[in-house]
């Protein structure tokens, strides 16, 4: 019966009733959704409180108290960055994100891009640190919230990628010492959890480094993240190097290119294109991984969200808080993977042409 029905429906709806079993499953899942959605929507939208001065405005048994998020948004997004200067952190972060978005598209890889990075980083540091051009100085200890999360992710991946090149080449090399050292490093780091590397960076680094050489808390945590993700990137890059046809090397040799020129001009650009999807996954992993800095007392997005819960004027809105931050993370990770898929598709169609 359902198959007869399927013939009469437009194709979009017809798939819903392809066979009786399919129709039944669809109906069951839909029924579950219909049962679950109204209370959820009621909590999140219809009964929610959007405006209140403090917790008395939000009845305990009522819907979501988004007024809490409204009151705490600046704290959650910017942490302890000085209130009046938060536009600087926002602007700097937007600049950084724009640079990354452009850089993820291989069509934009050029000398101009390197120049843009140089300029962008200068402006970024100026905005974040201040101290020049009438901008009040802000110590890195006060950076927090989303700018800190983005900073750790972007620079973790950026430096990780730069350091991954020699490590990957070393793993690929004929020279036993380099090969062994790179293999040892990659396997050691990949064998331990990120949190142990962060502990090492934040607790042990000062012990291992001489007085006066110890970087700030932010610098140490960033060093840990770079150390960790370099190993994963080197592994991905090694895969990219392996995928490059032998003919490319032979052609470069016959053109008389030296080893560094061959690597920089022929091999690495191709390798980076091949690994772009894996790289996107690593960026997402790094973005999620930065949330671990909470454990070493830093106020990134998650840390600032937890700090927002400590206010005695707003007690008990943890569900709203965590759901909000989870949504921010999900949107960020989701858009990175969406952008990655788009670039990959464009690239694929360009190459097949």
């Amino acid at each position: 019966m359902t198959t007869r029905l399927a013939h009469r429906l437009p194709p979009r709806l017809a798939v819903l009733v392809e066979t009786p079993a399919v129709a039944l499953v669809n109906l069951g899942v839909l029924a579950l959704l219909v049962a679950a959605l109204p209370p959820l929507l009621d909590w999140a939208v219809f009964s929610a409180v959007w405006r209140a001065d403090d917790m008395r405005g939000c009845p305990p048994a009522g819907g979501a108290c988004w007024a809490f998020i409204g009151d705490k948004a600046r704290l959650i997004f910017f942490g302890l960055y000085p209130y009046g200067e938060q536009w600087r952190a926002a602007l700097a972060t937007a600049l950084l994100v724009a640079l990354v978005v452009v850089s993820l598209n291989p069509r934009c890889w050029s000398r101009r891009l390197a120049l843009a990075w140089g300029l962008g980083l200068a402006v970024y540091s100026l905005l974040m640190w201040g101290g020049l051009l009438g901008l009040a100085p802000v110590e890195s200890a006060y950076w927090g919230g989303l700018p800190l999360t983005v900073l750790l992710t972007v620079f973790g991946v950026f430096f990780g990628l730069i350091l991954a090149v020699p490590v990957a080449l070393a793993r690929f090399s004929d020279l036993p010492v380099f090969k062994a050292a790179a293999t040892l490093y990659v396997e050691l780091v990949r064998g331990v959890p990120l949190i142990s590397v962060l502990f090492m960076a934040s607790v042990l680094l000062p012990i291992f480094l001489p007085d006066g050489f110890t970087p700030s808390g932010l610098g140490r945590v960033l060093a840990g993240i770079v150390l960790f993700f370099t190993a994963y990137m080197a592994e991905v890059l090694r895969g990219g190097l392996q995928a490059i046809p032998r003919g490319q090397y032979e052609a470069s040799r016959s053109l008389g290119l030296s080893y560094p020129v061959m690597m920089a001009r022929v091999v690495l650009p191709q390798a980076f294109q091949t690994i772009l999807p894996a790289l996107i996954n690593l960026i997402i992993a790094a973005l999620k991984g930065t949330s671990l800095v909470v454990i070493v007392a830093m106020l990134d997005l998650l840390g600032a969200a937890q700090a927002a819960l400590a206010d005695p004027d707003w007690i008990g809105f943890y569900v709203e808080d965590y759901v909000f931050v989870a949504a921010v993370y999900a949107i960020m990770c989701g858009s990175i993977s969406w952008y990655g898929r788009r670039v990959e598709r464009n690239l694929g169609s360009a190459q097949s042409r």
Binding site: L33, S173, K179, L204, I207, Y318
Partner: protein, 407 residues
């Protein structure tokens, strides 16, 4: 000169032995052997010098604090209690014992997490591939959300919900007689110890030994041309019947010890703490999203022709899945899923944020008590390294087996 040659050849030989296909090796590295040697010697010396400088600095820094470096503190008394333990432990036992508790708790949560996340991953993967559009869409949304929210956030969320949304002990929820849900954990009844259980366990062991034998016998018959109709059913019967028979023969003793509210807490029965529960919820929901993707890719990796041929032979869809697709997909799935299990084990270290007493938490607390920072962090790294090595050895072994079967 001989030394240089040996080094160069040794390196090349080692590279050539790799079993993965290596289409490309930058040619032209050969002639650069001598600068390579200089660079290598320099590199080694610089690394050695750096290591030496670091050790010197660390020794100097530690000297100022007169901390006794070394692992001797492991035999001193640990002043703290731990929330849950698989082996007897109390404050006043040694730090070593506390670390053992931590490692066992890590293994416990990893084992349960791997089991649950693989099962959920399989269900979600099949849901995504099901012909039901709505189900597939729901499963897809789950995967997209679950893997894009940091695990740490999920763990903290579940822990907060479990300790704040569930009622206190005196107002415990009891969905089923003997089961209590409270913000101090879930209390479950356990079977009272009975002498018959020894016999049941022995029978179960016998069944476990018998089952592979039956399986092999069925296959041998099949190879000789005398196919057994349902080898899987026979094997399952061999596995399950002996303990069941022993259990029934003993008169089916089913007395259970139910948890009872006595004084402050529920006493007796089995307690699942909110920390363990939050860990399992978070790890399972997060890792299952990745496992679902791996399994889905594995199933899609089986050529369509296989399915079509099997359907043409008249097999039903579930049987096609079970007999044709899944066994082939398994070979594709196994390496990445092992990797994902290893990731889950490493990520169980995030328990430190919610107070589940696993390895990292024990190390963290010990560090605060003793000040032995280098030692405690090195223990964490060492244990995880060993776990990783064991897993990758297992993975290699399974890969080798999968390849053998393929021939």
């Amino acid at each position: 000169m001989a030394v240089i040659d040996a080094g160069g050849e040794g390196g090349a030989g080692h590279g050539a032995r790799g079993d993965a296909p290596r289409p490309a090796r930058p040619p032209g590295r050969r002639r650069r052997r001598r600068p390579g040697l200089v660079a290598q010697v320099l590199f080694l010396l610089v690394v050695a010098a750096l290591a030496w400088a670091v050790v010197q600095t660390a020794a100097g820094n530690l000297d100022r604090l007169s901390v006794h470096s070394g692992y001797g503190f492991l035999w001193e008394k640990a002043p703290f209690e731990l929330g849950e333990s698989l082996i007897p432990y109390k404050a006043g036992d040694s730090y070593l014992r506390a670390f053992e508790v931590g490692v066992l708790n890590t293994l416990k949560v990893a084992f349960l997490g791997i089991l649950l996340s693989t099962l959920l991953g399989l269900v979600v993967a099949l849901g995504q591939l099901s012909p039901s559009v709505v189900l597939a869409r729901v499963c897809r949304s789950y995967v997209e959300v679950a893997r894009n929210v940091p695990l740490l956030l999920q763990l903290i969320f579940w822990h907060t919900v479990l300790t704040r949304a569930l009622p206190p002990v005196r107002r415990a929820l009891s969905p089923v007689e003997g089961v209590y849900l409270t913000n101090r954990g879930v209390f479950l009844p356990v079977p009272l110890d009975d002498p018959a259980y020894g016999a049941v366990a022995a029978a179960a062991l016998a069944g476990a030994l018998l089952a592979p034998a039956v399986w092999l016998a069925c296959r041998r018959r099949a190879r000789l041309g005398r196919r057994v109709a349902h080898p899987l059913r026979w094997t399952l019967a061999a596995l399950l019947l002996p303990p069941l028979a022993a259990f029934l023969a003993a008169g089916a003793p089913l007395a259970v010890e139910a948890p009872q509210l006595r004084g402050f807490n529920f006493v007796g029965g089995l307690t699942v703490t909110p920390e363990l529960l939050a860990m399992l919820l978070g790890l399972t929901i997060y890792t299952a999203a990745f496992n679902a993707e791996i399994i889905r890719a594995g199933i899609l990796g089986v050529p369509r022709g296989q399915t079509e041929a099997a359907i043409a032979l008249g097999l039903t869809r579930p049987r096609v899945m079970r007999l044709v697709v899944l066994p082939q997909a398994l070979r594709i799935i196994l390496p990445p899923i092992t990797n994902s299990c290893l990731n889950l084990t490493k990520e169980s270290s995030l328990a430190v944020a919610i107070g589940y007493p696993e390895l990292v938490r024990v190390a963290n607390v010990t560090l605060t008590q003793t000040g032995q920072a280098i030692e405690c962090i090195s223990i964490i790294m060492l244990v995880y390294l060993i776990l990783s090595l064991i897993t990758s050895a297992l993975l290699n072994w399974m890969n080798a087996r999968a390849r053998l079967v393929a021939r």
